[in-house]
């Protein structure tokens, strides 16, 4: 039940266009006994059906800049392979600390800067 509630809350937040995994993963780490690796895999896997659903609407509304997509995907895949191979080979505790540092930077950015970038 706890997992459904955590999913519900992060769904509400991501439905409003603010973060998704950046709230789901720390919530799972704090409120359940999942490891960092498992929490990350839950987010990766649950992103797939949700993204496919969202893309139907975005595609119909012509909101996707398709010319930019292909090169970004090509280099993105190289990055994704490197990143995920690194992740699975790191101890969960170290990965959790690295994630924490990333989350802290993103949190500070969100707190101070995002409002300004939107009004530009």
């Amino acid at each position: 039940m706890l997992l459904i509630i955590i999913g519900l809350f992060s769904g509400v937040i991501s439905g409003m266009g603010i973060g998704g995994g950046t709230i789901l993963i720390p919530a799972m780490i704090i409120f359940t006994d999942l490891t960092q690796h498992h929490a990350q895999s839950v987010n990766l896997l649950s992103f797939i059906p949700i993204a496919i659903t969202a893309l139907f609407t975005h595609f119909k509304n012509k909101n996707i800049e398709t010319t930019l997509c292909l090169p970004l995907i090509v280099f993105g895949i190289i990055g994704a392979l490197t990143g995920s191979l690194l992740a699975v080979n790191l101890p969960s505790d170290l990965l959790k600390k690295l994630f924490g540092i990333f989350l802290l930077i993103m949190g500070i950015y969100e707190f101070f800067w995002k409002g300004k970038s939107r009004t530009k």
Binding site: L3, I4, G7, F9, S10, G11, V12, I13, S14, G15, M16, G17, G19, G20, I23, L24, I25, A27, I29, H37, Q40, S41, V42, N43, L44, L45, S46, F47, A51, I52, A54, L55, H58, N63, I64, T66, L68, L72, F75, G76, I77, I78, G79, A80, L81, T82, G83, S84, L86, A87, V88, K97, G100, L103, L104, M106, G107, F111, S117, R118
Partner: protein
């Protein structure tokens, strides 16, 4: 394609993929501002474009995680069930809750959670 743009594509693509694979999330938090600041893409289009770029990256990363036995299907299904209902509620609430306050609250949650995870 201009030379300048090539560097932008390489860097933005690599960093987005690396972060998304390493942390299982966060690709969008890099890519959306990246598309906005580097390519001047309007924010709603940047969101949609980011999802279409990150989807294949998430697929690749999921395969790597799966091969290493890290996927937990039962837990993921529960989170998806909650997430789908939540996303629907979120979309309906979008214009009813002041976004500025929500963003600040969300940022504070991130910072507090981050400190707990590092210590």
């Amino acid at each position: 394609m201009k030379n300048n743009n090539k560097i932008k594509f390489v860097l933005l693509g690599l960093i987005t993929g690396l972060v998304n694979g390493l942390f299982g999330s966060g690709g969008g938090t890099i890519l959306v501002p990246g598309l906005f600041f580097l390519f001047g893409i309007a924010e709603h289009k940047a969101h949609a474009t980011a999802i279409s770029v990150i989807l294949p990256l998430a697929l690749i990363s999921t395969i790597v995680y799966m091969k290493n036995g890290i996927i937990v299907w039962d837990i993921t299904l529960k989170v998806i069930a909650g997430g789908v209902i939540g996303a629907f509620i979120g979309a309906k609430l979008l214009n009813k809750i002041p976004e500025k306050i929500l963003r600040k609250a969300f940022a504070i949650f991130m910072i507090v959670a981050a400190i707990r995870m590092v210590i």
